[in-house]
């Protein structure tokens, strides 16, 4: 969580300094939920994170360097400058790179799980995260229904952070809780306070375990608030101040720190030590990525096909 927050903040400051091309999207306020997803997955599981999942990505095993290289456009990163920012992953390692089109990742996770069934690979699960706004897509409905029909070990984590860009949840759905929808699809539902790390960890542990044990898709709905703009270009002035002042608006990282202190599981000095360590690691990864070459259009093969011999040539651009 702390590492993710530190990395996100570094990206935000690089963005303000004009060092990042394109947008920057933070997971501020969603780290407890996201990290709980990543921590409950094992090697061999599948994870398709979305834009606010830096914490889950790191917990699942993404390196700081992969993240830094992608944001900073290093030619050595997993996306080699072809794609950027949150659009990164390593499919062969079960870490799927999102496309922007919301809702599109769920069915793809389903497909990986179907394939594992064909191949006789047992007891792996697939998890994916999504915002409440993206539950309005047709893709969301098609994919969760598909997973239910196939009884796939899918863990679908919905972060209801109250806003989809500027649009409040009330303009997205009219049910009381998105968890109410689960029974209509015939899948299990779990609700959780997304600002409480301990709650997130235990709910996700249960959901992942149930999926792994063959109880079919698990829908997890977390209540929280997006504590940043949609992207760093957005000042989020539309967010209702009453929400910010409500329990939903608590910063999960601060809540977790408070818990550690009050239970005397860690003291302030230790936490400060972790913070320094996180800053150090992040600075190191960013410095490395910044030193690396950016993609060279003359070295690019400009080829979108794996069947290289079938690539057509077109007049030079």
């Amino acid at each position: 969580m702390l590492l993710a927050r530190t990395l996100d903040e570094k990206f935000a400051s690089l963005y303000r300094a004009g060092k990042i091309h394109g947008g920057v999207f933070l997971g501020r306020g969603q780290e407890a939920l996201s990290v709980a997803v990543g921590l409950n997955l094992r090697k061999g599981d599948v994870f398709a994170p979305l834009i606010r999942d830096q914490a889950g990505r790191l917990a699942f095993g993404e390196t700081l360097l992969d993240a830094a290289r992608t944001y900073l456009g290093s030619a050595l990163g997993p996306m080699r400058g072809r794609d950027g920012n949150v659009h990164r992953g390593r499919p062969r390692e079960g870490y799927l790179p999102m496309i922007s089109h919301l809702g599109a990742m769920i069915a793809v996770v389903n497909g990986t799980l179907l394939a594992r069934r064909f191949k006789g690979v047992l007891r792996t699960v697939g998890a994916t995260c999504i915002g409440e706004g993206a539950t309005s897509t047709g893709s969301f409905h098609e994919a969760i229904n598909q997973a239910a029909v196939e009884k796939l070990p899918l863990v679908l984590v919905i972060a209801n952070n109250q806003y989809a860009y500027s649009t409040p949840s009330s303009r997205q759905f009219a049910c009381t809780s998105l968890a109410d929808r689960a029974s209509g699809y015939g899948v299990d539902a779990h609700s959780v306070d997304g600002t409480e790390l301990a709650a997130c960890l235990s709910v996700l542990a249960e959901a992942v375990e149930r999926a792994r044990e063959g109880h079919g898709p698990q829908m997890v709905v977390a209540r929280l608030l997006r504590l940043c703009g949609h992207g760093e270009h957005d000042d989020a002035s539309y967010v209702d101040p009453r929400l910010k002042a409500s329990p939903l608006g608590r910063d999960c990282l601060k809540v977790a720190e408070q818990n550690l202190l009050s239970r005397q599981w860690a003291d302030a000095v230790t936490i400060e030590g972790w913070r320094c360590e996180a800053v150090h690691k992040v600075e190191e990864a960013v410095a490395t990525a910044l030193r690396e070459p950016t993609p060279d259009p003359y070295k690019e093969n400009w080829c979108a096909l794996a069947s290289k011999h079938l690539v057509e040539t077109h007049p030079e651009v």
């Binding site: 456009g73 950027g84 496309i99 309005s136 539309y238 993609p295 690019e300």
Partner: protein, 321 residues
């Protein structure tokens, strides 16, 4: 006073809302927020109840627009990015595009697509979709390149009785400025001679018109006069104006920002080759983006799309033939 391409789009929508009670705007974040690019800024406040935030449901957004059109309304749909029109593709090409032909009931909807590449935007926020939509019978596809056209063509799109795909280029939004809004307009379906010249014709549309104009300036200093045709709408495509230009110059280069397989440039070249072969002094040429998704990194992006530099190189090659 000066007005940007983006402001012209906003002003056209304000005027359409003011003048026609059948008009409403529907799309993600278009209400109080004013849209991801601010193309509907303040419209929700000025026209209460008529500028409505939609859920992230492109299929349902277009479907609802079709239903409203059947009831006699004239919806304007804003897709947050052209790329995100694909979940609504089915409703656009199979429903909106076929309705009039099947039933004689018109489907007057305008779908605004913030289109084209901008640096750092990557494969899913950069696409040019005009070719796909133009392929389907029953749709009109507009690709305005100027502030004046952004304004007048959007008004015309709303007034037309057919579904219109309105491709507005994001790169032009804030860069392109005009002194004032136009009071009269070239009708839809007519191309515009953006610059007269006698040595070769460059046919372009949308942002590429401006790259081509830069090339014409450059080549003019070398004594070559390039004529530039701005297609304005790619469907209908004004073959007559293109052909008349080629008749004057004998040389054709057609430039587009979308991918090289098929598309607008291929359509123009094939029409000229079929109908005006005898007018050509050299084989007609076309220049498009490279045949890969639109890359994220600015180094790659700048090499992926045609630019004044690559267009100038293509133009010089054509002049030597």
């Amino acid at each position: 006073m000066s007005i940007t391409y983006l402001e012209a789009i906003r002003e056209a929508q304000a005027r359409a809302l003011a003048e026609d009670p059948r008009v409403f705007i529907y799309g993600q974040d278009v209400g109080a927020f004013g849209g991801a690019f601010k193309a509907t800024k303040n419209l929700a406040q000025e026209f209460p109840g008529r500028v409505i935030d939609a859920p992230i449901s492109e299929d349902a957004i277009v479907g609802a627009a079709i239903g409203a059109a059947v009831e006699g309304m004239r919806p304007i749909i804003e897709m947050q990015f052209a790329d995100f029109s694909t979940p609504g593709f089915n409703q656009i090409v199979n429903h909106a595009a076929t309705l009039y032909w099947r039933t004689q009931v018109p489907c007057p909807i305008t779908i605004r697509l913030p289109s084209g590449g901008t640096s750092g935007s990557g494969p899913f926020h950069s696409q040019s979709m005009e070719t796909l939509y133009a392929h389907y019978p029953g749709l009109i596809v507009m690709t305005p390149a100027t502030v004046e056209d952004a304004y007048s063509m959007l008004l015309e799109a709303v007034a037309l009785d057919d579904p219109v795909i309105f491709c507005e280029h994001k790169l032009l939004y804030n860069h392109l400025k005009a002194e004032s809004l136009p009071t009269e307009a070239v009708p839809v379906g007519k191309a515009r001679l953006a610059r007269p010249g006698r040595d070769m014709t460059i046919v372009a549309y949308s942002a590429m018109v401006h790259e081509a104009l830069a090339v014409a300036d450059e080549l003019a200093s070398e004594g070559t006069e390039v004529e530039i045709v701005d297609l304005r709408s790619i469907k209908p495509l004004d073959t007559d104006t293109v052909m008349a230009s080629v008749a004057r110059t004998g040389r054709l280069l057609c430039v587009g920002e979308s991918w090289p397989w098929g598309g607008v440039t291929a359509e123009v070249v094939s029409r000229v080759a079929c109908e005006g072969f005898g007018l050509l002094d050299a084989p007609p040429q076309r220049l498009n983006a490279k045949d890969t998704p639109v890359p994220y990194h600015p180094n790659l992006w700048a090499a992926h799309r045609p630019t004044a530099r690559s267009i100038a190189a293509a133009a010089r090659r054509l002049l030597r033939i």
